[in-house]
Each structure stands twice: as C-alpha cells, then as structure tokens.
Symmetry: C2
Subunit: 209 residues, 2 copies
DNA sequence: AGATGTGAAGCGGTTCACAGCT
DNA sequence: AGCTGTGAACCGCTTCACATCT
C-alpha cells in the first residue's frame, strides 16, 4: 500500500514533470526531480518505487511515462464531478476558479441555503437549494463535495453530502467533521495556517530581541 | 522546543476551548478536549505539557487559563499586520473575508500589478502597485504576506516580500517557494488537495467494483 | 478516586548507503 | 559510469501505561 505521505507528494511530482515536459525534457533524474520539487532525491526514488519500477538505472525516468503513471495512480485519467456547498465569499471564488476544472475536476453543482442566492447563476451554473441535494445527487453523481459554508452548518452539510453518496470532502469550514469510515476528508483552514505563522513570527521576533 | 506537529494542533485546541468557554464550561479534561478536537487524549496531554504544567491532577484544565496560555504561545496576544498580494478571484475573497481579522490578523495592505486593479478599493483598502511594496513596508510594517497570484510570479513576489521584511508567508500559488532561512512559508494548494481526494476516490471506487 | 504528566514502547516516514541494473 | 531501487539505520511523533499529584 502507498503511504499517505507519498500520496500527498505525488501531485508535486506531477506538476514538476509537467514543467519538465513543457521544457521539452524527455528524461529526468530523481536528483533533478527532487530539486525542482523541493524535496530529497532518496525520497523521490522511494516514493516512485511504490508505484512500481518506473525508471531506468543509469538513465532516469521517462517524463511522459512517469506523468502518465502518476496521473493514473492519482485517478486523474477520469473526471470527478464536484459540488460546491456555500456560496459566500470563498464559495463564489471557488466556483469562478478556472484552474479548478483544469485537471479533471468538473464543477457540476452549486448549492446554498440563502434564498437570495438560490437561482443566481455563477460561472454558468445555477445555484440550487441545499434541500435539492438528493435530487442533484442522482442527476449529477458528484464524487467530491466542497464545503465553503460557515462553521456551524458544516457538519450538517457533510452529513447531507455523505447521504447523497459523496465519498470525498474538501472542507474549508473551521472545525472537525465526523464522517463514516470510507469517506475521505481534507481540511483547508486559513485561520490555522495564520496561527501557525503567528507562532513562527513570534519566535522570530523573540530571536531578534 | 515545541514540536512542529504540536504547534499545528494548538489552534485546534484554541478553537475547542473557545467553544467550551462559550458553553460556560470552566474546566475541561484532556479526554473531553480530545473528543471535541478530534484527537487522542494522550496527545492532548503531551501537547499541552510542552507549554508547561498547566492542568490540575484529578480535575483537568482551567478553560480560561488554558485559552490564555495557548494564545500567548501562538503569539495571538498581539496584532500581526497582513499584506495580500494578488487580487484575482481568491485575493478578492481573502480581502473581504471577515474572519481574517478576527484573531489579530489585520489586513493592512493590498497589492497587485494589474493597472486596472490598482486604485480599486476593496474592503476599505486601496489596492497599490507591487512596486510600492518597499514604501508600504516601511509604512505598514507587515509581518505576514499572503500570495494569491498566479504561479509564475509567486517566486518574484515572495522575494519582494522578503526584501520588504516579511518573515512569514502564506502561499496560495501552486509550486515551491524558495526563501531564506528564518522565513516561514505555509502552503495552501487547492489542486493538491483535490488530487489527494481523487486518489482516495479512485481507491474507493476500486473497492466497490 | 480521578485526571495530569511523562518515561518507554511502537510506528510511520525519512534518509543513508550501496547493491543491482543498463 | 551512472542512476535507480531498496534494506537498514535513524528520527520524530504517537500511543500506551502508570507513577504522581490533588
């Protein structure tokens, strides 16, 4: 089984390889891949070895081949329909975010509870009511749900998404979500990141005192 | 020294404690704190022990006291001026994000290169040009820089922020930033998160096949 | 009695160093 | 000769289990 930490780095290799491909490099060493990706070369080799024996000793890795293998491993050779719940500041920005659909993530549905927002069209998609989720689920078969709601309703939204068959959730609301086993949750929490930076900032300041 | 992993969890305890305080609980056990924060009780105790001996055996932790101690450790007892660079979709949303300033993070400056955006007023702050950064730095003394630009210019922006005296960076642009030692960088990468979810989604699908 | 604080064991991930292949 | 693939050492974090204190 591929370690979680490795999975989290595969996207980095993917991006790095795309840059290499764009620069017309056909082959790449673990050394160079590591340098471009900001990691250690041994780690690159170990990570890639989990996907199989993909390189050629004495030569390196074939850029195109590796791109394909990683894409396949990450499940990026197919499209994943995405539903965004909560269209405040952030949800709006996400709905309009172009790079979103870039690699196979297709926003297929937008959901909110605010009656003034329901019916609005954002990035070509009409916002529907949270209560419509079951219907939308059978229509759109969403795989990934993005929660961009205020914290207090995030758990309820998560429950509804899970009930609608979503098994992957990207949560921007602060707080812990509890979901059944088999449902993957990734959390993006701005205020946690800022607080971690604050800690470093304070330590930095203490050193200069 | 406090382990990095512990620092990353302190904000979670902080939020949990604020909920407990709001519910008028005056004392809390590691068990309960763990449950609310979605972690293990032994971990809570070990984490908190790095800040000192803050609890009372047989009783638990005093909510208000612990709130203060964690806040202080994270450097949240003072304000950190924040500058946002890049006011596209995301930067805009960030500039308007209220919860941002909630705990001592004050957005003091907005920067872009697009002449059509420079001069625009967002959330009461006038957008200035990237070239003004040195001047803004001496005026505003920013501690934290938020990069919400397209990937290709992120490194240049980071260099300028560092030159302007910023020692903490929150980077929303994909890719690796190289910064001098002593500068802290936290990365928030939407597409990496989605790709990790894609991996789980694919594994999930494989299991149900 | 009850909950903290912590040595020690356990675990996952990183890094080293080199055998093995081209 | 050169670079991959990988066993083994290492490291940091997690978890256990219990001595310690109120």
């Amino acid at each position: 089984m591929i370690p979680e930490a490795t999975v989290a780095r595969l996207p980095i290799y993917l991006r790095t390889l795309m840059e290499a491909a764009a620069a017309h490099e056909t082959t790449i060493s673990s050394e160079r891949l590591a340098e471009l990706g900001g990691v250690n070369a041994a780690k690159v080799r170990k990570d890639l070895s989990y996907l199989g024996s993909l390189g050629t000793r004495g030569v390196g890795y074939d850029v195109e081949f590796l791109l394909f293998e990683i894409s396949r491993e990450l499940g990026l050779t197919r499209d994943w329909p995405v539903i965004i719940v909560g269209l405040g500041n952030l949800g709006h920005a996400l709905a309009n975010y172009k790079g979103f659909g870039a690699r196979g993530f297709q926003v297929v549905g937008l959901v909110d509870v605010d009656p003034t927002r329901v019916g609005e069209e954002i990035a070509g998609i009409t916002v529907r009511h949270l209560d419509d989720l079951p219907v939308m689920a059978s229509e759109l078969r969403p795989a990934i749900g993005v929660i961009a709601t205020p914290a207090p309703v995030a758990q309820d939204v998560a429950d509804r998404l899970v009930a609608a068959g979503v098994t992957s959730i990207l949560n921007f609301a602060p707080g812990v979500l509890s979901v059944p086993k088999g449902v993957a949750v990734r959390k993006v929490d701005l205020s946690i990141e800022l607080q971690i930076l604050s800690f470093h900032q304070q330590r930095q300041a203490a050193q200069h005192a």
